[in-house]
């Protein structure tokens, strides 16, 4: 009896049950992302008051903070899938890790760019080599490294293993990013929201931030499901082609 039959939940790790499920979920989450972003931005721009210290520039926060959170969450998720793919050889886990990477890189880039654009009016500079900014830049290189390594090695299994290994090693960077503002004396401000101490923001600001974060999550789910579908089709195509060649 195969492992697939013994453990029912493994069924959901297979491409043929994932695909129709993704078809139903992707449009749903894309719609949700749009609604959440519209409401979040409305609150962020029309309801939330001007910050007494930073003026209006703080409104970049509603984009910058969710993007930075996503850049770290997605990386952790990617690394988790990389472990599952490396240890248990679950194909769908490899597809998920691979599909998460470009979106994670996109959010990392957005976090860096919006950070620079927020830094200029607030600190007087677009960039500074402090711990928070440098470790976030390293995160971008980890994403690009994962994607580059994956596509540079022609044999897919070897590519997957090498890239997964890199992703897992790179995980040490995530707590460095998160705690950098505590561990080092950085120009970047400390967290306004902490696990223990609640928030130092007004509730309207906090609600907008939360809505934008959920919007980013919903967008990520939608676009990653779609990319995973594309990868499944591409791999099916390669397998079909290979099976035809072997028949001849």
């Amino acid at each position: 009896m195969s492992a697939t039959r013994r453990i029912p939940w493994m069924k959901y790790a297979s491409a043929s049950s994932f695909y129709p499920l993704a078809n139903r979920l992707a449009p749903l989450f894309m719609g949700l992302a749009i609604v959440l972003a519209v409401v979040g931005l409305y609150m962020g721009f029309f309801v939330a008051p001007v910050d007494y210290q930073q003026g209006n520039s703080y409104r970049i926060m509603f984009l910058h903070v969710p993007a930075a959170w996503m850049s770290m969450f997605i990386y952790l998720l990617l690394a988790m899938y990389a472990i599952i793919s490396l240890v248990w050889r679950v194909k769908m886990a490899d597809i998920m890790a691979y599909s998460l990477a470009p979106t994670g890189a996109m959010f990392t880039f957005v976090a860096l760019v919006t950070g620079a654009l927020w830094g200029r009016p607030t600190w007087g500079t677009y960039w500074v080599w402090d711990a928070r900014l440098t470790s976030e830049l390293l995160l971008l290189f980890l994403y690009l490294g994962y994607m580059g390594l994956y596509s540079a090695i022609p044999d897919r299994q070897r590519a997957s293993r090498a890239a997964s290994f890199l992703a897992i090693v790179g995980v040490v960077n995530v707590p460095i990013i998160y705690f950098s503002v505590v561990w080092w004396n950085t120009l970047h401000q400390g967290a306004s929201i902490t696990f223990s101490g609640g928030t130092s923001m007004t509730s309207v600001m906090f609600t907008s931030l939360l809505l934008m974060t959920f919007a980013c999550w919903a967008y990520t789910i939608a676009v990653v499901l779609r990319r995973a579908q594309a990868v499944i089709l591409e791999r099916k195509k390669v397998a079909l082609w290979a099976s035809q060649i072997s028949k001849k």
């Binding site: 001007v50 003026g55 209006n56 409104r59 957005v110 654009l117 009016p121 594309a230 089709l233 079909l240």
Partner: protein, 62 residues
Amino acid sequence: MSIGEFLDMGGHGFYIWSSYGIALILVLIETFLVGRRRSKAKKELEQMEAEFGRADNQGMNG
């Protein structure tokens, strides 16, 4: 508050609108590229299956 005042954002308009503009453009590009990649793969797979005379594509017709 006039539209001009709103867009100016107390002198921070450039930074704010560039931030949101860049993010919006990237999100639109990613959505477009992923959609195109998926439909391209789907079409090629269907062509291949038609050519090889088999369809084991159950459940993947969406």
